[in-house]
């Protein structure tokens, strides 16, 4: 708005009033003489001098005052004379229908009171009944426009009507005038929906231009760089202004000097054309690093220094230069090593829209502080923009850097948040490791752990195996022994009988010594075989106890011992006159009886 007023100040109204500058004129005017209910109209009081103490007529009886009094003052400098004019305007809306008279307004100029002429206005119902009159009104308005059409208009001029999303274009609003423009006012400039805008300062807003052989005064109202943020058809809304134009009318008074002209102020709405911008979406297949940058750019990364000590600072700077939607671009910084403390970047912008395009550079400066020694890599930054001229994506890659971080001053680095007390403690403990072991190092081969080797498992399992095998061998041998005992036992009687038979033969032959020997052997052998006691171990006591264990009756034991004794005695003293036959019978009976008891 300010700018608009600025223009208005500059607009030099032509001195087409045809009046002497000294003549004070105070006029009232209406934007329409016939209105419908709820139709807004404007009431203006114009004074061609500077006055004071303006008093408006009573309007509130029939009208609703929507706005006003709005005062505007214009100064003109024409032909070396300064003239000023003042306008008091109201925007009114009728409350009732009917014909009303707007009373005079008064103002004081140089102590004199001036009054306007009363005005008549007809208020009709805004229905079909008044269609006729409305049509008339409209026709009238149209006529106004037609009359002014070539003389006063606004135009939107754009540098391109077809752009890619994010591609910048310039829009200029220009007022072309060759009418008697007194005053223009308007509501807010339309907003640019779907665009990022960057207004261009207008330095030289006035020029002259010839169109179709007619000379126009051209005023640049607004100049903006537009960057579409949406795709599709984006409309630049028309700009609507209200202009007060002095129109020359012929008066019916026949004067001596011929027809006299007067000028009537007319309020005219002027509307610009509207422009549709076709915003094309960016082509698909954008690289991952694309983030909406459109234009032509170069990107540079710089790092200094590349070798430093822990806790010293280094600078990483990204500079983007070119034309395009620079204000909207914020390239991703590289992933700094985690051991680097990275601060938020300082951003420096150095671009302008002076030539209708946004051009220049933008820089981001990162302050980095390494907190640990080591070799670090700062990767390259990939930045992709869309070049609308070449219609393709272009990816820029900056340099990547290696940073060598040396230990700090004290040779020790402090972890972030580390304290000095901690460090001191370390130093105290530092000289404190225990001494090496100087004895036998007890070296062994790396692969030698014994466990898991074949030998280990052999040694682990062998003893059990040996035990089992040993048991098997022992028990087999025992079994064999047991077998001979049984054999002997079963054969004992047979052998004894055999021996006794042999003894009988000796007896029959009258050989007493061999006879007794055979009987003795028969008894002893029988006993030994039967009870598995070696003959050598036999003696009287031994025999008695063994037999008693086997629960052999005592008489039988005595008899056995007696026979044995007798035989033994007879063997070594054959002289004894004994009944050989009887001994033989006794031996036979003893064996038979024992056989019965030892079953």
């Amino acid at each position: 708005m300010k700018r608009l007023y600025g223009i208005l100040w500059i607009v030099l109204l032509a001195t087409t009033f045809g009046l002497k500058a000294q003549d004070v004129e105070f006029n009232a005017s209406l934007s329409a003489t016939e209105v419908t209910l709820n139709e807004r109209f404007q009431l203006s009081f114009t004074l061609n001098a500077s006055g004071s103490n303006f008093r408006a007529p009573d309007l509130s009886r029939h009208f609703k005052v929507l706005s006003g009094p709005n005062q505007s003052t214009q100064m003109s400098f024409i032909n070396g004379k300064i003239s000023s004019s003042m306008t008091y305007s109201f925007i009114l809306m009728p409350i009732n229908t009917g014909e009303f008279t707007i009373g005079p307004a008064s103002i004081v100029v140089d102590g004199k009171v001036y009054k306007t002429q009363p005005l008549k206005i007809k208020v009709v119902k805004g229905s079909s009944a008044t269609a006729q009159s409305q049509q008339n009104t409209r026709k009238k308005k149209k006529n106004d426009k037609l009359n002014l059409g070539d003389n006063l208009f606004i135009r939107i001029e754009v540098s391109k009507t077809q752009v890619y999303e994010g591609e910048q274009l310039t829009a200029v609003y220009k007022l072309y005038n060759r009418a008697n423009l007194e005053n223009i006012s308007g509501e807010k400039l339309p907003e640019f929906d779907g665009f990022y805008t960057s207004e261009i300062d207008i330095k030289d807003n006035y020029s002259k231009q010839v169109i179709d052989g007619k000379l126009y005064d051209v005023y640049t109202i607004k100049k903006t760089v537009l960057i579409p943020q949406k795709t599709g058809k984006l409309k630049l809304k028309p700009l609507e202004l209200e202009a007060t134009v002095a129109v020359r009318v012929k008066q019916n008074t026949n004067s001596f000097w011929g027809p006299q002209y007067t000028y009537v102020r007319k309020n005219v709405k002027i509307k610009s054309n509207s422009v549709t911008i076709r915003v094309k979406p960016l082509p698909g297949g954008a690289p991952e690093s694309f983030d909406g940058a459109v234009g032509q750019f170069t990107l540079k990364a710089a790092l200094s220094p590349t070798e430093l000590k822990v806790n010293d600072a280094l600078n990483y700077k990204l500079t983007l230069t070119g034309t395009g939607n620079l204000p909207l671009i914020n390239p991703e910084p590289p992933e700094f090593p985690v051991d680097f403390e990275a601060y938020d970047p300082k951003q420096k912008s150095n671009y302008s829209n002076k030539r209708g395009v946004i051009k220049g550079s933008k820089a981001w400066e990162y302050l980095l502080i390494p907190r640990h020694r080591g070799e670090y890599h700062i990767p390259a930054v990939a930045f992709t923009y869309f070049d609308p001229a070449a219609k393709k994506y272009i990816t820029l890659t900056t340099d990547s850097f290696y940073v060598k971080v040396l230990p700090g001053e004290n040779g020790e680095e402090i972890a972030p948040g580390g304290t000095t007390t901690y460090k001191k403690e370390l130093e105290r403990l530092g000289s404190d490791i225990r001494f090496i072991h100087t004895g036998n190092p007890r070296l062994h081969e790396k692969s030698d752990v014994f466990f898991g080797t074949v030998l280990y498992y052999l040694l682990l399992l062998m003893p059990s195996l040996i035990a089992v095998i040993a048991y098997a061998i022992i028990s087999k041998r025992e079994a064999m022994k047991r077998d001979t005992v049984t054999f002997k036992r079963t054969k004992a009687t047979k052998i004894a009988v055999k021996r006794l038979r042999k003894a009988k033969k000796h007896l029959d032959a009258g050989e007493t010594a061999p006879f007794y020997e055979e009987v003795f052997k028969a008894l002893n052998g029988y006993f030994s075989d039967k009870l598995a006691i070696p003959v050598s171990e036999l003696n009287k006591h031994n025999i008695s106890s063994t037999l008693r264990e086997k629960q052999v009756p005592d008489e039988l034991i005595d008899e056995f011992n007696n026979v044995l004794e007798t035989c033994e005695m007879a063997r070594f003293s054959p002289a004894g006159g004994q009944d050989h036959q009887k001994v033989y019978e006794r031996a036979k009976n003893v064996i038979v009886n024992l056989e019965n008891h030892l079953k």
């Binding site: 985690v338 051991d339 007890r442 790396k446 014994f450 466990f451 040694l459 040996i466």
Partner: protein
Amino acid sequence: MKTRTIPILTLLLLLVYVSAFAETSAYYDSLVTRANTLYKNAQYDSAKSVYNKVIEAGYESDILYYNLGNAYYKTGDIPAAILNYERALKLNPSNKDAKYNLELANKYISDKIETVPEPLMKSLAINILHLMPVKMWSILSIVFAVIASALLLWFLLSNTSGSKRTAFFLAVAFYGLTLVFYLFAFASFRHIKATDRAIVFSPSTEVMSEPSGSATRLFVVHEGLKVGVVKTEGNWTNVTLPDGSKGWIRSDAIIII
């Protein structure tokens, strides 16, 4: 009578074998002694290279690693010191000096990660396991196997029910102990042969979410940190940090203990 001699023979064989263990090349023993002398004279770098020569020849012992760790410590190479102390402790967990010096060396590393305390039962088991080196557990298991075998034989041969019962219970008990010692030896062996621990050697390296340089960076770790190794994938190793979190690290940034 002959049956009794078999276990005794076995034991003898065992003793011969064990004594053979102790016998190593005297040359390498002398090398260690020379390195120890260098260390005493504060020639740590020379001492290091001599100790390393012995290791390269295929010999090791907790003492060797401990001494080498000390030499690294003295020359300021903390990660290498930590690695060698850890190796010493791996061979002989009861090496108290190695434990002490390791604790000291660990104070120099940058990452102070809160360690998750191990469950009581597990730490108890580890303590018992580390009472003896794996070789001793192996020998113990063999000795008990021999005794148990003798008891088995006694059980098999005894005639009277009383002695048979005694022999049975004793044999079962000793076989049980044999099994326990075998399991200890096995667990200890697994521990020594394990490659599931490593020390970070790169001064500063990033732990990623995936085995790729373009993955999300999870943490940054520094030299000297002990990490657990889960598996390897190409040039990347999946590691667990002391606080239990997992990630992928470049394999050349770590050395297996």
